[in-house]
């Protein structure tokens, strides 16, 4: 059932944004997705997260993006994601962990549904 891959990407050193990203990741896991957590511009204090890797976009069926996308590099990266055919991209606009968890779960479910439709169409 873990047939969808979700990357949760966030762009902030703000603990509140990190909490939302973690909640979205948990939601994606609840949606039975495999996940990768990524953070732009990791600092020594944020060793828990690595920056986006080559291959993440190929691996993922969905991206959940949280944070302010405050810099040019992250805006460009996210813009490129939006151009990829078949990749489900969700921008987190909520401000509670419960809502972020729901968004993560929904992203997994919608990506799964998209995959199912594509398989049926092909």
């Amino acid at each position: 059932m873990q047939d969808v891959n979700v990357v949760v990407l966030f762009d902030s050193g703000d603990e509140a944004v990190e909490r939302l990203a973690l909640a979205a990741a948990v939601g994606a896991v609840q949606g039975r997705a495999l996940i990768r957590l990524r953070r732009f511009h990791g600092t020594p204090e944020s060793r828990e997260y690595v920056t986006p890797r080559d291959g993440d976009a190929d691996w993922a069926h969905a991206f959940v993006v949280g944070g302010t996308t405050a810099n040019e590099e992250s805006r460009r990266y996210i813009g490129q994601l939006g151009e990829r055919v078949g990749l489900h991209v969700v921008i987190l606009e909520c401000d509670t962990s419960d809502a972020a968890r729901d968004e993560g779960r929904r992203a997994a479910e919608q990506a799964r549904e998209q995959r199912r439709k594509r398989r049926a169409d092909s």
Partner: protein
């Protein structure tokens, strides 16, 4: 029947920052003959370099027990738990519907050494939870100290499986006997030093699968003695 799983036969991966020995198949190490034993799925013997560790990653539907052999690990998870654990502490995490956590060697100078144990839960989709219980080393000296089990008792962690996990430390000449109930199984994993199990010597890293045995006799087999974990499994 007692089937030995010698330390040297385990899977091994050296990633530089992480030196791991796998009692059972894990990650890139896959051996169909060693996929676990009863509900016991993983025993990873991990040495982590100073300041290094596992970044944020997810688990689902697994009971995860960490037992420190040396050093300290810093843990942080999506339930908001943030702790440092060291020897003589039980850390048990029920991943249930989903949990994201990271764990790093809390020291910038000394490596950490830990056993990470995964036990398959009897039920899926439980509420994720985290437990951490410290105990005195005296509680495992010459006797079995319950680390985890399905019911809350004696300061042990509660896991969602009919499995009991004990630690015991025996000095040379000390003996312990453990009966195995009919239909039950056991796994022995030596953490430090060496012990004798029904007359057979097991050293650090060695494991043993036990089935159709009614009693297990343990003794410390060298001057330093030995410490081991006992899994009593359905």
């Amino acid at each position: 029947m007692i089937t030995l799983r010698p330390a040297a036969d385990r899977g091994h991966a050296d990633r530089g920052w992480l030196n791991s020995w796998f009692t059972f198949s894990f990650a890139d190490y896959h051996d169909p003959a060693h996929m676990g034993f009863r509900s016991l799925r993983v025993i990873n013997d991990d040495v982590i370099a100073p300041g290094k560790g596992f970044g944020a990653h997810a688990h689902r539907d697994m009971e995860i027990i960490t037992y420190m052999l040396a050093g300290h690990l810093a843990h942080k998870d999506s339930t908001g738990e943030k702790h440092v654990i060291g020897p003589d502490t039980i850390q048990a995490m029920s991943a249930g519907t989903g949990i994201v956590h990271s764990e790093f060697n809390a020291s910038e100078t000394e490596p950490s050494h830990s056993l990470q144990i995964w036990i398959e839960p009897a039920m899926e989709d439980v509420e994720p939870s985290y437990q951490q219980i410290a105990f005195s080393p005296a509680e495992k000296r010459g006797r079995f100290r319950l680390l985890a089990g399905p019911h809350p008792q004696d300061g042990s962690a509660v896991i969602h499986q009919d499995a009991l996990v004990y630690a015991a430390e025996l000095r040379d000449g000390e003996n312990l006997r453990r009966s195995v109930a009919p239909g039950r199984f056991a796994w022995i994993q030596v953490a430090h030093g060496s012990i004798l199990l029904n007359g057979r010597r097991l050293a650090a890293g060695d494991g043993a699968a036990v089935s159709d045995e009614s009693a297990l006799d343990f003794s410390g087999s060298e001057p330093g003695g030995g410490e081991f974990l006992l899994f009593d499994l359905a």
